[in-house]
Amino acid sequence: MKQALQKPLAQYLIALADDELILGHRNSEWTGHAPILEEDIAFANIALDEIGHARLWYELAAELSDEDKRTFPDKQVFFRPEQEFCCLQFVELPKGDWAFSMLRQYLFDALEAQRLKGLIKSKQKPLADVAAKINNEEIYHLRHTRAWVRRLGLGSKESQRRMQAALDELWPYAQALGARLPGELELVEEGFVPSSSKAFGLWKKEVSAFLKEADLKTQEAKVHEVDRAVHSEYFEVLVKDMQEVAQTEPGASW
C-alpha cells in the first residue's frame, strides 16, 4: 500500500469503529431492562457484536499507524478524550424507548449492510477479510431488527405511534449516514472502500420501501450535522460513563 494512503485509511477505520462502539455502548444500556428475557439476551448479544466489530476495525487501524494491536483498542475506547471521537450524533442519542432503539439499530444495520458489500470487495485484503467476518453477524442483526420494526409498525395503535415518533426523531440524524467518512475520497479512487453516498442511495431506497410496508412514514428531512467532530449534548456523559471504571485503575486486569 502507498505510504500516503495509510493515514486516511486509519482515519476511515476509526470512524467506522467509533460508530459501532458508541451504538454498541448505547444498546448495552438495555441489558437487564429489555421487554422480555429472550430479547434482553438477544439485544445484549447484538450490542456485544457491535463492540466486537469496533475492536476489529481499531486493530486494523493500529497496524496502519504503528500502534500495538493488543493495546490500541482499549486506548481508543477508555483513554481517548471525548473531543477526539469521530462518531455520528445518530449513534449518540439516548436509547429512548424500545421502538427507538430497535429502529436505530435497523437503520444502522441496513446502511452497514450496503457498505459491507463494497468493503468485502476491497482491494485491501485484510480489510476485505474483516468485512466478510462482520457481514455474517450483520445479516443476522438485520433479520432481527427488521422483524421488530415490522411487528411494532404493524402491531397495536400504541406500538405504531411509538415507532412513528421514533422515526420522526431519528430520520434527520439518519441522513448523516450518507456523509463521506474521513479519508474516503482517496480510498474510493484506489478501490479500497465503497462510496458512502452510493451506499446511502441504495440504503434510502430499501429502507423507505421497508418502512412503508411497516406502515411508517418518512418525511423529507434536512441532513442533521454531518461533521463528526461535532458531538451532541449527550455525548460527554456517555463517554464519562464508558471510561469511568477503566480510568479508576488504569492497567487493571480482569
Partner: protein, 185 residues
Amino acid sequence: MSDTQFPRFMVFQQAGEGEPLLHNGTVHAPDIEMALLNARDVFVRRPDAVALWVVPVDAIYSQTREELTQTIARSAKHDEAIPNPELEDYYVFGKLSQQAQATHLGKVNANSPQAAMNAAVEKFSDRKVLRWYVFPASAVLKSKPGEADPMFAPARDKTYKDQAEYPVVTMMRQIRATGHLEEDK
C-alpha cells in the same frame, strides 16, 4: 390473573450433522419466526449447532409411559378437541432417561395427535421412552440450511471466559477471612 406472557415455543437443537435433534429449552415469542430468532440468541451463542427447530408448545402432544397405559378417556377427549381427518406427518421425540433431553426418534403418519402417539409407540417399541412427544411436521419452523452461516457460525469463534475463570468465590472468601484481598504474587 390472565397470562400476559407471549406464547411459549419448544426449542430443538442439532449439535452436528448426523446427530439427533435434542430438546434444549423453551422461549417466549410473539410468533414462530421470532421464536426461531430468540432460540438462536438464547441457546446458540456459545455451543455449536447446525440446525434449530421451534414448535409452539400448544401443538405438542405429550404423554409419559405411565399415562399411556391408562389414558383412553383422556385421549378420546384430545381427539375431540383437535379433529383432523387428514393424514399428516408427525415428528416423534422421546425422553430416554430422567436426566436426558428429549431426543428425535423419527416420523409417523397419522390423522390425530393420539393416533400419532399410538403409531409412535408401536414404531419405536424398541426404545425405552419415559415421556413421548408428538407434533405435526407442519407446526415446526426450522432454520434453513442456507442460513446456517449467519445463524450459527458467529458463535463458533467467539472467545469467552468460563465462569470458573473468574475466581470471585475464592476472592470473597479471602476478603471475609482476612478483611482484604491479597495482591497477586
